[in-house]
Symmetry: C2
């Protein structure tokens, strides 16, 4: 019954980094950034805590890497569906809104992560930069889609007004996304994208309902 040293398996550097990042993200979502302690992360990744320092300069480093990983993941999720669609501009706008308001983009863990990271994002310049870039990217894509759809419908739109439309649509989408993630049981499965399309359509002045 002697104390035995723990057995282990060597993994590729990439796999280990990813496992550590995934564990960190889970814990940040559940307990906030400060709740994601090195020991908790190590345990969830089924590893001892010393290993974290072997792959990351510091815990801070791991957290930043995890944040960046998550953000680019989210970008990929909304970028894919709309950009590779070959239909009309209106169709691409519809696809973009729908993708943003359906799983896996709408997801309790993502919402929790967003909230948990907010204060770190506001204090840490490196994180702030990542955030600003992602946010601007999302809104610019939305603005471009709106512009194209309006153009297609023969409605030239001035830049200032276009900006307001993009801000407003972004806000509805954000708001719905947030509520869908924060209160998963409060909405029917396809209620969110439906409301989103109606609202975005009403704001920009286009009918985005499928029927047409």
């Amino acid at each position: 019954m002697s104390e035995e040293r723990r057995k282990f398996k060597r993994e590729s550097a990439e796999a280990r980094r990813e496992a550590l990042i995934r564990a960190a993200l889970e814990l940040v979502a559940e307990h906030g950034v400060r709740g994601a302690t090195v020991r908790a992360i190590a345990e969830r990744a089924d590893v001892t805590q010393g290993l974290i320092r072997h792959y990351f300069r510091s815990k801070e480093d791991l957290i930043t890497a995890a944040y960046e990983h998550h953000m680019t993941h989210m970008t990929d999720l909304t970028e894919g569906p709309a950009s590779q669609l070959r239909g009309t501009a209106r169709d691409r706008l519809v696809a973009f809104v729908e993708a943003s308001l359906t799983a896996p983009v709408v997801d309790p863990q993502s919402t929790a992560l967003w909230a948990s990271f907010l204060n770190k994002v506001q204090n840490d310049p490196a994180m702030k930069a990542i955030h600003a870039r992602t946010y601007a990217d999302f809104r610019n894509r939305l603005e471009a889609l709106i512009a194209a759809a309006l153009d297609e419908a023969g409605q030239a739109t001035e830049a200032g007004r276009l900006r307001h439309l993009a801000i407003a649509c972004n806000a509805v989408i954000d708001g719905l996304w947030l509520e869908g993630g924060a209160l998963p049981d409060a909405f029917e499965p396809d209620e969110l994208p439906k409301i989103g399309l109606t609202s975005v359509g009403a704001i920009v002045g286009l009918n985005l309902t499928h029927s047409s």
Copy 2:
């Protein structure tokens, strides 16, 4: 140069409780719930840490009290302006939207608090209850205002549609509120309420611009 015991002044129980709550809220906004340590709270309230235990059973207790305090404060801020207005239903709706998208409701600290408390709200049943109540209250008030304004305009609206309208308007307002608090410098002072009124108006099908 001997170590002297710290001088102090006795304050009323109410004042001390409030000072501790205010300090706690500031720190939660800045560093998250776990970053609001008893020592940091005590220091900010200009008091030694032992005093916290004298006014609250535990740190947990103080945090819950602070959350409740903040939430009722927010409710008061949006409730006041719209309810005591004696104009048309449309005017009350306009006032409600404007109040929700202007300081002091739009405020970086409030947004940070919302984010910091989210995971605690999702895990702790007591906090979850407070949150659900406040959220439902806000949306119900919004729905009632929309119903009244539509009714006033001679447009009877069915319950299901009314719910969707309220969800959508709530989402725009939430989204704008959030972005206004998270990126205070990204918007002109009156840009948010302006966009909010245009969007809510577009969604429900009423012109909420001041001119009329």
